[in-house]
């Protein structure tokens, strides 16, 4: 039984009845797959598991089982610690996930002889001694809305996606709701921008809809250049149709003529899967002229980034789409007034737009019941640095940091102790274990210099020198500065110089005041978001670990032995 690309037989849908027919077909096909007598084997393939040999394992499984079972290439499920994994559903049994699996383990796993590798079942029920995956601490505390298809559907199959509810919200917006009603749901849901800003999406959409000019555009910002965030990559690899549907709904609700998705060049697999999703949607007539006979037209373009962090800033991103250097400009005019090609443009983050289909289907009230008073819904979180379990998780807003770090991610591995956790990518300060009772939402971390931002956290332990760490992050901002405005262009190199002075043992106590003064200038005078937050991690580290900075200066000692000042190790200079 060779599993061919399932959607090759699909043809253009010309009316709403065509769509409903396809929806029913897809659901039947999906139910037959799982309730029938076939053995279904799925291998989780995402960038993180490819690096660990998931493709080789998929090939092995195909070679051995292609004649007797349905073999599927699904995406990763966010749990990096169990990759690469194989899921096997035998007739009459629950789907069981095995991982991490090596190539040598594959025959044993396929023969059903390796229950020692079983992690859990993808079901509410146990299978023999194997408990449901949802009882594992990594999954127990998650609320999976955006990621509920991750590791479940084949990302390349539009039928799988439709069977799991994709384009139902789009259908509602096309035929059952007015623009005002759709935007009202988003406003009621109070979904706030997931890219870091936290600006309510509904307000943005409303001004986009009211903008008089034509054409208008919607841009999805899928450029997460931060060196420790990969939530959008996970979404693109796991469920590209969800993102596409979100963008298309935004296009209809705002009356936009064309949707864009600007994807960072860092994730080729995500780009490949998203392009496939767009091609399929176009072939089915979900994109194009007279969508499903509704009389509405939507065009779509995919653009990819070239590895410039600054292009995550909305105005820089638009310049990058227009084929020039991605350098931000002053606002006003805001992008909803003058964006791409000087047309009104609504720009949202990927994760924000991925929330939209569920909001349209289930209503804004439902969404607003999730999360905290001011931060609604769920949030994707990622962890890096030393940790027992790595991965992408989706949790309800308001979970405490301690629960996230210690229960979901399992805390520090043996032999490591927490020194702190860096928050908000490279745009915010660290928190210490003393603050682990603080809830995770958009506002609670702000008094601590911390930021929820894009939900990327980095554990660091006692072996990390905070001065060197601060230098690393400041050097990152120096490298990524677009060089347009002076405070950022000259301020960040100046900060790196001061930090180097301290690292080499030539610092003075006045340097600490100088750091604060220079940082204040950069924060207050820079043009764009990158410059305005560039010194924040440094200030956060300085506030939290001032004693360690002082030890470098006063005692001439780097407590961890990282900095050149320490004789215990040869001089290290951080890369630019």
């Amino acid at each position: 039984m060779v599993h061919t690309a399932p959607d090759e037989h699909l043809t253009r849908l010309n009316s709403k009845e065509d769509f409903l027919r396809l929806q029913k077909q897809s659901i039947d096909r999906w139910e037959n797959l799982w309730e029938g007598n076939a053995t279904v084997i799925s291998v989780g393939v995402g960038s993180s598991s490819v690096a660990k040999g998931a493709l080789e394992i998929l090939d092995l499984v195909r070679a051995e089982m292609a004649d007797t079972a349905v073999v599927r290439e699904v995406s990763g499920n966010g749990a990096f610690w169990m990759e690469p994994w194989i899921e096997i559903k035998r007739p009459g049994a629950m789907p069981v996930l095995y991982g991490p699996v090596t190539e040598a383990d594959v025959p044993g796993v396929l023969a059903g002889a390796r229950d020692d590798l079983a992690v859990g079942t993808r079901s509410e029920h146990a299978e023999g001694n194997i408990p449901p995956l949802t009882e594992h601490p990594f999954f127990k505390h998650q609320v999976q809305l955006l990621t509920r298809n991750a590791g479940v559907i084949e990302p390349d199959s539009i039928e799988d996606a439709i069977a799991r509810g994709a384009y139902h919200g789009y259908f509602k917006v096309l035929f059952e709701m007015s623009q005002e009603e759709a935007i009202a749901e988003v406003t009621t849901a109070n979904v706030r921008g997931r890219g870091g800003g936290g600006f309510p999406a509904g307000i943005k959409w409303e001004s986009g809809r009211k903008a008089k000019a034509s054409p208008k555009f919607v841009v999805c910002n899928s450029h997460e250049g931060e060196p420790n965030v990969y939530k959008d990559r996970h979404l693109h690899e796991a469920d590209p149709h969800r993102i596409l549907e979100g963008i298309l709904i935004a296009c209809i609700a705002c009356g936009a003529d064309r949707g864009y998705n600007y994807i960072g060049g860092e994730y080729p697999l995500g780009i490949k899967r998203f392009r496939k999703a767009v091609a399929d949607a176009e072939r089915l007539g979900l994109i194009g002229k007279n969508v499903l006979g509704s009389g509405k037209d939507v065009a779509f373009r995919v653009r990819t980034g070239g590895g410039a962090y600054i292009c995550g800033e909305a105005s820089a991103l638009m310049y990058s789409i227009m084929g020039v250097r991605g350098q931000p400009r002053t606002k006003p005019p805001r992008s909803v007034e003058e964006g791409i090609w000087k047309r009104p443009t609504v720009a949202n983050n990927t994760e924000t737009l991925a929330n939209i289909p569920d909001i349209i289907v289930n209503g804004g009230e439902w969404y607003a019941s999730l999360g905290t008073e001011k931060s609604k819904g769920t949030k994707l979180m990622t962890i890096q640095g030393p940790s027992k379990r790595h991965g992408v998780v989706e949790v309800e807003m308001g979970m405490t940091m301690g629960q996230l770090f210690n229960e979901v991610f399992g805390g520090m591995p043996d032999g490591y102790t927490y020194k702190g956790v860096q928050t908000g990518g490279v745009s915010a300060g660290p928190v210490t274990p003393a603050h682990f009772d603080i809830p995770l939402d958009f506002d609670s971390l702000t008094p601590l210099n911390g930021m929820l931002g894009s939900g990327g956290f980095v554990n660091f332990d006692e072996s990390v020198c905070v001065v060197d760490f601060a230098r690393y992050m400041t050097a990152f901002s120096r490298y990524e500065s677009c060089s347009k405005c002076v405070p950022c262009r000259l301020g960040n190199p100046a900060l790196v110089e001061i930090l180097d002075r301290i690292r080499f043992g030539r610092g003075s106590l006045e340097d600490l005041a100088l750091i604060r003064r220079t940082s204040k200038h950069i924060i207050e005078l820079s043009l764009c978001g990158l410059g305005q937050v560039a010194p924040v991690p440094l200030i956060g580290l300085l506030d939290t670990y001032e004693e360690e900075f002082r030890r470098h200066i006063v005692d001439g000692v780097c407590p961890t032995g990282t900095c050149p000042i320490s004789a215990r190790q040869p001089a290290l200079t951080a890369a630019d």
Binding site: S48, P227, N228, G264, T304, A308, G323, V324
Partner: protein, 197 residues
Amino acid sequence: MAQSEQTHAVRPVPAPFTGRQEIDLDVVREMMSHFKYDDFEEAQELILAALQEVNEHYGWVSPEAAAVVAEHLGTSTTRVFALLSFYADFRTEPRGHHHLLVCHGVSCYVMGSQKLVQALRDDYGIEDGDTTPDEQLSVQVVNGCLGVCDRSPVVKIDDEFVGHVTPESLNDLLQRAIVGREAMLAQEETNGSHSTR
């Protein structure tokens, strides 16, 4: 640590060579013929994508290739070069026979990627973007993230990810890659095959 040692033992480096390549302008012209546009605005939106395709195929973009791109999209070479020099993914010089990406994301930093960068500087005399004088190795330090954070620090040599790298294992890896390629070339010579690499 045990995992990385196992990876080393099981799979010999090198993986397929990405190789050092001269740019064939006819191939670039052929690539460009797939970039169709209706108006000047759309042509401009395609510059970045066109350059990415050349860069992906050859590992770098030469001034001549940039001129072909500019001509096809009705813009100036200067404009094209403005993009090449701004976006970090582009190289304007050919790569070495082996191309090494060193992940320098926060996770890899915390786990010691800086020592790898330093080792490359000390042992091979090369920094981010450089190629060794014997053209064996080029290096790119990735300011973003290669996405294998649970095995940090991570490097990618040619098509192969290697995790939990130390300066010693990095040196070992590079030496085996270089020796492996020479052995393969010698093998090809005795077999009489004509490889352009």
